[in-house]
């Protein structure tokens, strides 16, 4: 079971059909592995309302780059980190374009909502990369 974390706090994951990239036809939600090339979604980004990108472990950072590219490619739907990321990474997840994360129950139990809220409150404030890019 999983929990969805956003700036608003914890909410239960809703049931909906989400397919892997290889199986994507006309569905509106897709899961990317962190080895998938986000460019494969070019031309289909408008049909999608949810993309989850896998974090097999919190210290495997490939999904950060993938999220950033999806936003650069013009994706505007919901974008979630899927896997055992930790609260300390929440601000960085937001900065690369994730709307939040879908985390396993164990992580949610170990790091309750207040720890994520703490990071959510000011994720824009120390966003030095955006500041330098302006």
């Amino acid at each position: 079971m999983t929990v969805i974390v956003t700036d608003a706090g914890f909410s239960p994951a809703t049931q909906r059909e989400i397919v892997a990239l290889a199986d994507l036809t006309d569905q509106t939600a897709v899961d990317l592995a962190n080895t998938d090339d986000p460019h494969e979604l070019v031309g289909r980004l408008d049909q999608l309302t949810l993309i989850r990108v896998a974090f097999p472990a919190f210290n495997d950072g490939r999904a950060f780059t993938i999220a950033r590219r999806l936003r650069e490619l013009g994706y505007t739907g919901q974008l979630l980190a899927l896997g055992p990321v930790i609260a300390d990474q929440y601000a960085m997840l937001r900065r690369v374009g994730f709307d939040g994360a879908e985390i396993p129950d164990e992580i949610a139990a170990r790091q309750p909502a207040d720890q994520w809220q703490f990071r959510a409150a000011d994720w824009k404030q120390h966003h030095y990369q955006a500041r330098l890019r302006a």
């Binding site: 950072g61 490939r62 950060f64 780059t65 950033r68 650069e72 990369q129 330098l132 890019r133 302006a134």
Partner: protein, 378 residues
Amino acid sequence: MTKAHDIGLRMVRNAAGEPGFEVMVGGGLGRTPMIGVTVREFLPEADLLPYVEAVLSVYNTLGRRDNKYKARIKITVHETGAAEITRMIEARFAELRPLFGGADQKLLAEIREAFAPPAFRNAPVDAYDAFYKADPTFRAWADTNLTVHRNAQYAIVTISLKAHGETPGDATSAQMRLIADLAEKYGHSDLRISHEQNVILPHVHKSDLPTLHAALLQAGLGTANVGLLSDIIACPGMDYCALATARSIPVAQELATHFEALKLEHEIGPLKIKISGCINACGHHHVGHIGILGLDRAGVENYQITLGGDGTETAVIGDKTGPGFAYTEIVPAIERILRAYLGLRLEPSETFLQAFRRVGMEPFKTALYESDSAQDAA
């Protein structure tokens, strides 16, 4: 050392005289030493942040996650190939560059203001010239420990923390206080620590040098050996480091005192000896003209020697000489190498590194491993 880093940035000017960087990627030492490859000969200064971001973006996508020892960028560059990684970086850079709207350059200008040069004093330097002629101790120190300043009345002073027989790079609290005071008084309050583990006063007026030198001498900080044999970089090694397989500091101390007793280090001239106490290479032995790596062979310290390493813009990883030496044999082994060098150099101005590049490994190997015949031949 620029070429031995994950990302190396070397300041250069292009044909039009504009400042920029040569960008090198994939260098590193440790268990797999590699020299970085140049991915961009000239990167305009203003492109620096998006370009470095492009490098990291490509690395984050390709970098190995299956094996911690292969996770470094040098492995990625090596496995992907210089041409392909360059292409990928440039492609990513083309995407990232337009996102930078100039805020970084504004911030850079602000930072630049904070590093404005000090108000240089205009005063005669005759006192310096006279002292230089009259005092041989001062002269020896000035010859090794001063670097040319862009203002001819000034000098860049390197305070050696490599007194013969002391732990290389160590200073006592009293010495540190004194150095800070001297920097305030004679150095426009500027003081830097070099990667060679010495202290640099970047702006000292030449007329102040005799007084400064006298104060340093009194505190045991007047050693005239910068760039010479005893200006050794040694990692903490077995004395302080939990990862060590051998001692480094005592080897450095013995080398320094041994050659000081022989009065040979000025004769030998510019030489970089670097010592690491294990394969992690914190002493950067791979890029020492003479590198010493302390290993553990069945519970006994064993020192492997590499020759010809270079950490400058002509960077090379040193070559192994052959089998290593026991703790008690390492100083005599280095002496054999250096006596061989003194015997074969064309003239005193030919440095150890130049001589090694000219003659290669063989004469040094002979001196090291067939010492009797080498002495006959010499």
